[in-house]
């Protein structure tokens, strides 16, 4: 009887051991899969730092395939994969995305001042007429910003959405 009990105990122990190994293996794969997502999440953050019109070209067509390639290249080395994916994505999030965007699409600066001088220095009535609407739109934006600043709550000057969008573009 004692021998039977010992044999049952041994079989039970073996089953528990095998089940434990399987559980650990599943858990490690689960964790590995989730850790792999971190690089993609950080890269998604870099995408948000890009102007909308550049997100497809820079993130979707260039950085994302590179990230796929990093993941595929270090398929069997999870720690190396994590290191390179984080290094690649964090550098883009912190300074790569805004710097690249500035190169690809330099932001227009001092648009209101330039519009003002175009009106001021117009040499003909036609040039004046051409420059005037731009100045009007820009001045609306400036007034709206000022009102928001002065009242501390959005201000009273209403600016059409298309004017705001155009001025930021």
């Amino acid at each position: 009887m004692n021998n039977v009990n010992a044999a049952l105990l041994a079989i039970g122990g073996l089953v528990v051991l095998v089940l434990g190994q399987v559980m650990i293996s599943m858990a490690s794969k689960e964790i590995e899969g989730r850790v792999d997502r971190i690089g993609y999440l950080v890269l998604r953050g870099a995408r948000r730092r890009l102007p909308t019109e550049l997100r497809k070209d820079l993130h979707d067509h260039e950085w994302l395939p590179e990230m796929d390639s990093i993941m595929a290249r270090h398929k069997d080395q999870p720690i190396t994969r994590l290191w390179w994916s984080l290094r690649f994505s964090f550098a883009l999030l912190l300074f790569g995305a805004p710097r690249t965007a500035r190169v690809v699409k330099p932001r227009a600066r001092f648009t209101w001042v330039r519009a003002f001088f175009r009106v001021l220095l117009a040499r003909s009535p036609e040039e004046h007429q051409e420059a005037r609407p731009q100045l009007d739109k820009e001045s609306q934006v400036v007034r709206a910003h000022y009102a928001r600043f002065a009242t501390g709550k959005g201000g009273k000057v209403k600016v059409a959405a298309h004017v705001r969008i155009k001025s930021r573009a």
């Binding site: 067509h61 390639s69 550098a91």
Partner: protein, 113 residues
């Protein structure tokens, strides 16, 4: 005619890698590893070089379903870029030469006559 480009040592490093074999396809991650610079520095440089016409970007011709990944963008040096890069690297190298003293290297006197 390619545009003029502000030459820094990092840009020179990337250009040198392109000049190693002008016909070879260069990918962002490979350039990162070979030049030893981060993606945050590399991609603005690639954008500047592409905008200036020194390099041209293309997409891999692969079947994403078959390969199981998206096509990567690769860069190659243009003919004009190759000429301009060689010229600029030579100029940078000349600028970085140590000063030539009249009678060999200047002796270290330690402040004494």
């Amino acid at each position: 005619m390619p545009e003029k480009l502000r030459m820094t040592t990092t840009v020179a490093n990337v250009l040198r890698e392109f000049l190693e074999d002008p016909a070879e396809h260069r990918y962002g991650f490979d350039l990162m590893q070979r030049c030893g610079i981060s993606s945050g520095s590399l991609y603005p440089i690639l954008a500047r070089l592409e905008k200036a016409g020194w390099i041209a970007g293309h997409f891999e011709d692969i079947d994403p379903v078959k390969e199981g990944r998206r096509p990567r963008k690769y860069y190659t040096l243009t003919a004009e870029g190759s000429v301009a890069a060689t010229r600029e690297l030579a100029a940078l190298s000349a600028r970085l030469q140590p000063p030539a003293w009249g009678f060999g290297p200047k002796p270290a006197t330690g402040g004494a006559w």
